[in-house]
């Protein structure tokens, strides 16, 4: 049962991500990105990681993509940008990267199938276990993540100011 669900979710993920990348309008791409993230959340749930799934939806799709949308709306890209994208997105630009991506895909597949295959356990890892780990062995990493977010905050504030070049920083 999970297997079938997994296949469906996987197909949605891939299709949605491809669609996300090939749109001309930034907002459309972001919506497709949200779909991708939601499908991934389903897959996380199937893998027995409900906490991760919830986080994915709340933080990733709910905050990060929303941030993206805000900035895109602020930049006020209009019809001219759509035409520009069309100009830029010529099929002939796709050949090189396609080849490279195919090669990389092939190599990594070989790497995966070389190693012994196994199944997932199917048991759910509850949020309680995750929490215990976080406050136990990974406490330092949590603090460092806090540093990182603080740095991100300060950086974003500084970079977002108007007339950055005129004012003394």
């Amino acid at each position: 049962m999970e297997y079938i669900l997994f296949i469906i979710a996987a197909a949605i993920t891939i299709g949605s991500s491809i669609l996300a990348l090939t749109r001309l309008n930034a907002s459309h791409a972001l919506i497709y990105l949200v779909v991708t993230l939601l499908a991934l959340a389903v897959i996380f749930f199937l893998l027995g990681a409900p906490f991760a799934a919830a986080l994915q939806i709340v933080v990733y799709a709910g905050a990060i993509v929303v941030l993206f949308l805000f900035v895109v709306m602020m930049l006020n890209l209009g019809k001219s940008s759509v035409e520009r994208e069309q100009r830029w997105l010529q099929p002939r630009m796709w050949y090189g990267p396609a080849v490279l991506s195919a090669i990389l895909f092939a190599i990594l597949c070989v790497a995966i199938y070389d190693s012994p295959s196994s199944d997932t356990t199917g048991t759910m890892v509850s949020p309680k276990e995750v929490g215990t780990e976080l406050f136990g062995p990974y406490i330092i990493a949590v603090e460092l993540a806090g540093f990182l977010l603080l740095a991100g905050l300060v950086g974003a504030y500084h970079l977002g100011r108007r007339y950055l070049s005129d004012r003394r920083s």
Binding site: T36, W88, V125, V130, G155, A156
Partner: protein, 105 residues
């Protein structure tokens, strides 16, 4: 949760690789910086999926913990990247990434 049929890890990894490659393809192809950032997000999600799959394979919470760190990183990165995007848009009046190529020789 009933587990009549568990999911083979290979398949999940395959999905992760596919997503990663798709994201890479997007980074290489698009010129608009917003799309490049979106592609990077896709790539990050691919690696997150790989971690979760590994954690599910062994039944340990470490995979989810790595996922959370990836989330934190992605959040910080997006914040700063969008700040840079705003600056780029203000200075060069375009979102073309090739406009910001002055750091050359």
């Amino acid at each position: 949760m009933g587990n009549a049929m568990t999911i083979p890890v290979d398949l999940v990894m395959l999905l992760a690789i596919a997503l990663f490659v798709i994201g890479l393809f997007g980074v290489l192809t698009r010129r608009n910086i917003i799309f490049i950032l979106i592609s990077i997000e896709v790539m990050m999600n691919a690696s997150a999926l790989a971690f979760i799959a590994a954690g599910a394979r062994w039944g340990q919470p470490d995979g989810q913990i790595m996922f959370m760190f990836i989330l934190a990183i992605a959040a910080a990165e997006v914040a700063i990247a969008l700040g840079l995007v705003i600056q780029l848009a203000r200075r060069f009046n375009t979102l073309d990434i090739d406009a910001a190529s002055e750091l050359n020789d």
